[in-house]
Symmetry: C2
Subunit: 189 residues, 2 copies
């Protein structure tokens, strides 16, 4: 997606440790017009997949997910990372390892909103090690639902996530695939 790649080149910042900061337009401050375009792009890519529901993980997946849901006309379910006093007791839960934070966390969704007849599209802002998507796959599997694919805003190809997911037969569509970042230079695949 050309507008996204241009935005990454103009506004992204490469920090030590292969960190790409896109918090001026994607995952802290957010550009609604750009993200609406991202949502329409995912909707086009998965238009023939009879998607019944979108899933993502809080918090930075929510904006691209809700705008994809708006474009596809389907509900969006976000997995929670913390147990809320208000949350249903009946949940599906999976453990996810965060390499960024160096610890495990649990993702949960209410059993009310994930069913065996659902065809799920996963949406997330980043694909690096793939652990968050694998956690969502686990929830989908627990419910007996079908995973139709994963729409990723930015994939870091030099980390393992994309390869792991595709080897499992998951259709992964990334709108910007970063081949490498060296000396602060971003090269797309």
């Amino acid at each position: 997606m050309e507008a996204l790649k241009q935005k990454i080149l103009s506004d992204g910042r490469v920090l030590p440790g292969n960190i790409l900061k896109v918090d001026s337009f994607l995952n802290h401050q957010m550009d609604p017009v750009l993200i609406a375009g991202i949502g329409r792009q995912f909707a086009n890519l998965f238009a023939d997949q009879s998607i019944s529901k979108i899933m993502t993980v809080e918090a930075s997946g929510i904006a691209p997910a809700i705008l994809t849901g708006l474009a596809l006309g389907v509900p969006v379910l976000f997995a929670k990372k913390t147990a809320s006093a208000n949350m249903d007791e009946e949940t599906y839960a999976a453990t996810v390892h965060s390499y960024t934070r160096g610890k495990d966390y649990t993702v949960r969704v209410s059993r009310r909103y994930l069913h065996a007849e659902d065809r799920i599209l996963i949406i997330d802002d980043f694909l690096a090690n793939g652990q968050a998507v694998l956690g969502l796959c686990d929830l989908i599997s627990q419910a007996g639902a079908t995973l139709a694919g994963a729409g990723i805003v930015i994939e870091k190809q030099f980390q393992d996530g994309g390869r792991i997911l595709r080897q499992k037969g998951i259709r992964v569509e990334a709108l910007a695939i970063i081949k490498e970042m060296s000396n602060g230079q971003i090269t797309f695949a």
Copy 2:
């Protein structure tokens, strides 16, 4: 907003402890079409306020905030509740007490994205005790920015938040105001 009130009556659940569960369409599973309408409604209400940026708190404020930002054509900044390894070191921070969780947490935004010349519209899904909005007001004040008002999807009038904010002179626009919930019955103001 009539469509929202109808949705609350048809799909909301009242649980003991004055808890209103709207997690089938607002803050766990989300209805993108309804929330896009909510965003347009906030945009109309604050159309003459020269809003330069929207602020909310992760996670359940993000969907109504991004759709308000899309309708107004301005960026959206969400405050984070956890310190991220990837977050700028230069932040504004404020402490917020959560009555739901019974503890304090910290909300943070990068100083890069909040400036003295900004005119801010706060968007959140619920207004109960008002603590989250007051935390955002604190961040806005630290940056020397101007608060133009707060757009709230559901206000619980029988809790103190709305009164506290309006007594401070803050313009609060709530799209559904719940006067009381007794015996599982919801009464709007």
